[in-house]
Amino acid sequence: MTGVVGRSVESITAALRAVFTAEQVAATDGFLQRRDPRVTLVAVAGLALAVMITRTIPVTLGFAGLTLALALLSAVPLRRLFARAAVVPLVSALIVLPQAVLLPGEVVASAFGLAITDAGVAYVVLFTLRVGVGVALLSLIVLTTPFSAVVAALRQLRVPVALVWVIAITYRYLFLFFDELQRLILARNSRTKGEATLRGGWRDGRRVAGTFLLRTLDRGERVGRGMRARGGARPPSPYRRSRSVDAGDYALLIVAAVAVVGSGVIRWGL
């Protein structure tokens, strides 16, 4: 598929596939990689909770610094972390953008007859930052821990089987989804010549979208059979990664606990 639309779909697909392929990072030796997966899950989820509790920009920036530190200690390429964490906050920013003019406060700028207030801007910035840091923290789990270890840890932590099942299947199907799209684009490219016009690109895009939907449904059904053929009708039972909880694990848990309590104290002034 050629043209702007084709290239965009292709590059987005390639980027997303790369983003979801993090096993090499998980295989490197780093701080989070050395942690017991249960500890990583609980501690990092705790830090994300602390970020969600926070309502001030300096504290959120503090958590952003902590996230960066964890990423660096775990040899996570920052570019990959940003790529993973950027989409959700950008979409969130678009959603909360109207608050910049809706919230009452001191007018800092005007555009198209709308007054942008300081409180509105602060709200949008804080909200986007919190979402970004929260997503970056959760991304750290997936980047530094093999997916099967995450699923095994969820089972060990007695997370309801149905939820673990949904997480496991969603993650697996994400790969297949991008893989199918990539193959479809390659198949079209192999029989396409020259630069398509914008209109041609849109037409191609519509066709690809239709075929993609049908192929994804079909592929989904066949992969479902592939899973059932190897016991996939039973609850997810990946092998546990045998690790013992050590001083580093306790340190991480303590940091997370302090972060949650500290965020609560700062917000509610207990």
């Binding site: 596939r17 392929t21 096993e23 090499q24 295989a27 093999p146 997916f147 099967s148 993650y171 697996r172 199907y173 790969f175 297949l176 893989d179 592929r219 066949r222 992969v223 059979r225 592939g226 899973m227 059932r228 053929a229 190897r230 016991g231 996939g232 009708a233 039973r234 997810p236 039972s237 990946p238 092998y239 546990r240």
Partner: protein
């Protein structure tokens, strides 16, 4: 030797009205080596899925090990390899995919680790274990898929075209693994070339989704008119020695032909 799979009057019709298999009845005995052959679109894959309990046939039933018609109850004893390895490899690394079956079917981690090691050696997967399956070549994916079905050491193997896209070296290694399997093997393939090197019995699926022939390998693969009717060719050695050697003496594999030539028998 009791039956491990007993199908009675299996019929499967897809929602678009295509009848893939019609009134198929067959019995596979314990330890048998069976090749199910047929032209493209004859219904082999549908038959494999129905025998493996992965689709609900429109009519008929399948009994496993003479004890149940519920495939899920005996899932750990049935190794069903799907035709397309992309349908079979859905984990984030090859290692996880090979471990998936043993883990889901309750086998110990130690046993699984041992099998992963052996299979990786045998099928040339050592350097690929930590790579995402979708980054592999077609032949590598096929080898990973074969390793994944062999990993939980099922009693019955139902393999749909396990040699697809695999080069000659690894085709031979896969063949050897299949031959060395201690249980029952049912191979689904459109080509008769490797059938005699694996199976003792051939079930020929006709183009209307019925069983056109069921017998000993030699009996079926030398029946040229039957094969031609069903859009199939005899194996290379049968074609090579046509008119030179009687059908009941013709070597069915290249190795057997070579040996006969060396012995001066042909």
């Amino acid at each position: 030797m009791g039956p491990v799979i007993e199908a009675e009057n299996l019929t499967h019709e897809y929602p678009d009205g295509t009848t893939a298999i019609q009134d198929v009845s067959l019995t596979i005995g314990e330890g048998e080596r069976v090749a199910v052959v047929g032209a493209n679109g004859s219904g082999k894959t549908t038959l494999q899925l129905a025998l493996g309990g992965l689709i609900e046939p429109t009519a008929g039933s399948v009994e496993y090990f003479g004890e149940t018609t519920d495939a899920e109850a005996v899932r750990e004893r049935l190794g069903v390899l799907l035709q397309d390895p992309d349908d079979y490899l859905f984990n984030t690394t090859v290692r996880e995919d090979i471990e998936y079956g043993p883990a889901q079917l309750g086998q110990s981690r130690e046993t699984a680790a041992c099998r992963v090691e052996t299979l990786a050696d045998d099928l040339g997967l050592n350097g690929l274990l930590d790579r995402p399956p979708f980054r592999l070549s077609g032949g590598e994916k096929q080898r990973a898929a074969v390793a994944s079905v062999l990993a939980f050491d099922p009693d019955v193997l139902l393999l749909d075209e396990p040699f697809g896209a695999v080069d000659a070296t690894y085709r031979e290694r896969i063949r050897r693994r299949i031959v060395d399997h201690e249980g029952t093997v049912v191979l689904f393939t459109p080509s008769l070339d490797l059938v005699a090197a694996i199976a003792d019995r051939v079930i020929l699926v006709g183009q209307n989704g019925t069983i056109a022939a069921d017998g000993a390998v030699r009996e079926v693969v030398t029946d040229r008119s039957l094969l031609a009717e069903q859009g199939l060719r005899p194996p290379p050695t049968v074609r090579l020695f046509e008119g030179i050697t009687p059908d009941d003496e013709v070597p069915l594999t290249i190795a057997a032909a070579r040996q006969s030539l060396l012995n001066g028998e042909l």
